[in-house]
């Protein structure tokens, strides 16, 4: 009985849906606020993401003629579910719902589901903007995913474990892996920006080019789910990087683990916000070029060096 209750609690409250929702809204607000501040503006009030979400949920849900009804409804839900499941394996403040040897692979797999769903959403839609956006998102997926995976395998190889919790725990005894592998950390950050489709890699949803990409024809509840997926994905991605590169929540320090974890997450969030204000959006062929000619070789070199040092 208590077993079930704890599972339910983990799913719905912590670190499941409730906690992630709160984090997603807070992170979104901080992100928008920071970006506004860097641009010399004031930015939205704290309740803004919540108001946006409620409003979208309460809006009429228009389905354009010719669109696949089941797919349109299922895709945002599948991607949200995948992201939420991935969150179960990521330790937050020294507490984790589920863990086993190899959960890093599962998390990475689950995190790539939204990208595929995003592509399918564009492909099955009736709008040409969505089709173009969908094909762009697939191309982008191939560009960032490989360097991202190789960069994340660095910590795993170095700690000799494919479990996120164990990698994080090992760092609390030694030094943060971001200091050992600064290049890997940077590559993972770039990969994360690509994964989250944030500026400057917001190519599949480029506003001035293809309206809103695959989401052009989505409205109301489904749009809200897509937005929520993106924002929770951002939270999960940031938490993942904190665990892999910044030592998670350092146990053994006097400050509570959750607090220190939060500060690290905010640091990564800040870097994402600055990056999105710093650059112009790239073209998809430029991203593919950077991904395969710069990021992938660097990640490969990093990985080989890690194996050579770590294994030797």
């Amino acid at each position: 009985m208590t077993e079930w209750l704890s599972v339910l609690f983990a799913l719905l409250v912590f670190p499941g849906f409730g906690f992630l929702l709160a984090c997603a809204l807070a992170f979104q607000w901080i992100d928008r606020r920071v970006e506004a501040r860097l641009q010399g503006r004031v930015g939205p009030p704290w309740f803004q993401p919540l108001a946006d979400l409620i409003k979208l949920l309460a809006k009429e849900d228009v389905l354009p003629v010719g669109a696949n009804e089941i797919a349109c409804a299922a895709l945002p839900m599948v991607s949200l579910a995948a992201v939420l499941t991935a969150a179960l394996y990521i330790p937050v403040g020294g507490w984790v719902a589920r863990t086993f040897e190899g959960d890093l692979i599962v998390v990475l797999f689950l995190l790539s589901i939204p990208a595929l769903a995003y592509f399918l959403a564009g492909w099955l839609s009736v709008s040409v903007y969505s089709v173009v956006g969908g094909s762009r998102s697939l191309l982008q997926f191939f560009s960032y995913e490989v360097p991202f995976l190789m960069a994340l395998s660095g910590p795993a190889i170095l700690s000799g474990s494919w479990s996120i919790s164990r990698i994080a725990a090992q760092q609390s005894q030694a030094v943060w892996l971001a200091l050992v592998q600064p290049l890997g950390f940077l590559l993972a950050l770039v990969g994360l920006i690509g994964k989250l489709k944030r500026s400057p890699f917001d190519i599949p949803k480029a506003k001035s080019e293809i309206v809103a990409g695959p989401l052009t024809e989505f409205s109301g509840r489904k749009l809200a789910l897509w937005h929520l997926t993106m924002h929770i994905q951002m939270v999960v991605g940031i938490f993942l990087l904190v665990n892999l590169f910044l030592g998670g929540s350092d146990v053994g320090v006097t400050i509570p683990g959750v607090l220190i974890f939060g500060i690290k997450a905010l640091f990564i969030l800040l870097m994402l916000s600055v990056a999105s204000a710093l650059y112009a959006r790239l073209r998809i062929d430029q991203l593919a070029n950077i991904g395969w000619r710069v990021l992938a070789p660097l990640a490969l070199a990093q990985m080989l060096a890690t194996i050579w040092i770590g294994g030797g």
Partner: protein, 360 residues
């Protein structure tokens, strides 16, 4: 790869004004484009015939909300020529001052729009923030942020006293610092260059064939500028350089426009420090003697031509407006052939379309 047709517009985030494109695309490569305009055609030339010369000053101000002052300047200049009026120098100076301020405002606005199209929101925000300085100066002078109503037939309705001139000069210094920053950014910043270099190329030969004018022509090495070639208003008393570049792509156009902004700032300083004393207007009769006139000026987007014919009444018999955007619109088909779909907004921004001007 199958060919698909992408409609762009009339409502599209890359277009502030309605304009419609049909792009035939293979993959991400554009094969063909078909342009359709006329969504903002309001029949302005006909409206002008229904109103008297005084009313028309305000009607032509609303041809375009970005370069409103240059339209009234061209119109008033034409009517003054028909009437044979000698406009007092102080009025000419103030008129030119607003023209140059408007050029700064238009170019900064354009820089912001280009930055937004390439996803560089920060530059959009910065450029528009600094544009507010110019808008403030213009509003202080004339009472309107966009529609100034500063020109009247035979002079101007605005004035600036000495304290005012000093405060404007101070703010121009602030503005110049900001614009130098943009200039440096355009020269150095990598992602900006990645998106603008080599995009929307027009050769000098193409420019001549399509009769393109303004910054777009000057960026391809065609050295035309009416302010120097056929000086009107107070330009004959001013020292300035005509900025040109050789590359002919969007990046070169950006450079030309930003450098022109700095040149305009220098011109504003000259105008303000040398502002002659004297009356602001001469009395203009309401009826205009029969005749016809062509009035030409250099708008922010290039050469603007008004043809006015009078039949002796208090209403013009014909007003014909030829705007600079009309010439650049034709080049779009050439520019869009073969580019990447992501570059469409960049190309559109690069030529600085003003559909409200072109459609009227």
């Amino acid at each position: 790869m199958t060919k698909i047709t992408i409609p762009i517009g009339p409502q599209h985030p890359a277009l502030k004004e309605p304009l419609s494109f049909l792009l035939t695309v293979e993959g991400e490569q554009i094969l063909d484009s078909a342009l359709r305009i006329g969504y903002v055609h309001r029949g302005l030339e006909r409206i002008c015939q229904n109103r008297n010369y005084v009313q028309n000053v305000h009607v032509v101000e609303r041809v375009c909300g970005i370069c409103s002052h240059i339209h009234t300047t061209t119109y008033c200049q034409g009517v003054e020529a028909l009437l044979g009026l000698q406009v007092p120098p102080r009025a000419l100076y103030l008129r030119t001052l607003l023209c140059e301020l408007e050029r700064i405002h238009s170019h900064l606005l354009w820089l912001g729009v280009l930055a937004e199209y390439i996803g560089f929101t920060t530059i959009f925000m910065y450029a528009w923030r600094d544009r507010e300085i110019v808008l403030d100066i213009m509003e202080e002078l004339s009472g309107g942020r966009v529609a100034h109503a500063a020109n009247v037939i035979g002079g101007v309705s605005i004035d600036a006293d000495e304290a005012h001139v000093a405060s404007i000069l101070d703010r121009l210094d602030v503005l110049e610092r900001q614009i130098k920053l943009f200039l440096d950014l355009i020269r150095r910043e990598r992602s900006f260059q990645a998106r603008t270099r080599g995009v929307g190329h027009l050769s000098a030969e193409q420019i001549r064939r399509y009769c393109v004018v303004g910054p777009a022509a000057r960026a391809s090495g065609v050295d035309v500028d009416l302010r120097r070639d056929a000086p009107y208003a107070a330009y004959k008393w001013l020292n300035f350089q005509v900025i040109t570049a050789e590359e002919g792509d969007v990046w070169a156009r950006t450079m030309v426009r930003v450098l022109e902004t700095i040149e305009s700032l220098h011109m504003c300083r000259q105008l303000l420090t040398e502002l002659p004393a004297g009356p602001l207007t001469v009395r203009a009769p309401r009826r205009v003697p029969p005749g016809e006139v062509v009035s030409r000026t250099e708008a922010p987007r290039g050469e603007l031509i008004y043809y006015i014919r009078s039949d002796g009444s208090d209403r013009p018999a014909r007003v014909k407006i030829r705007t600079p955007t009309l010439t650049t619109l034709i080049t779009l088909h050439d520019q869009l052939a073969g580019v990447h779909t992501a570059d469409v907004p960049v190309v559109l921004a690069g030529v600085d379309l003003c559909i409200a001007c072109a459609d009227r």
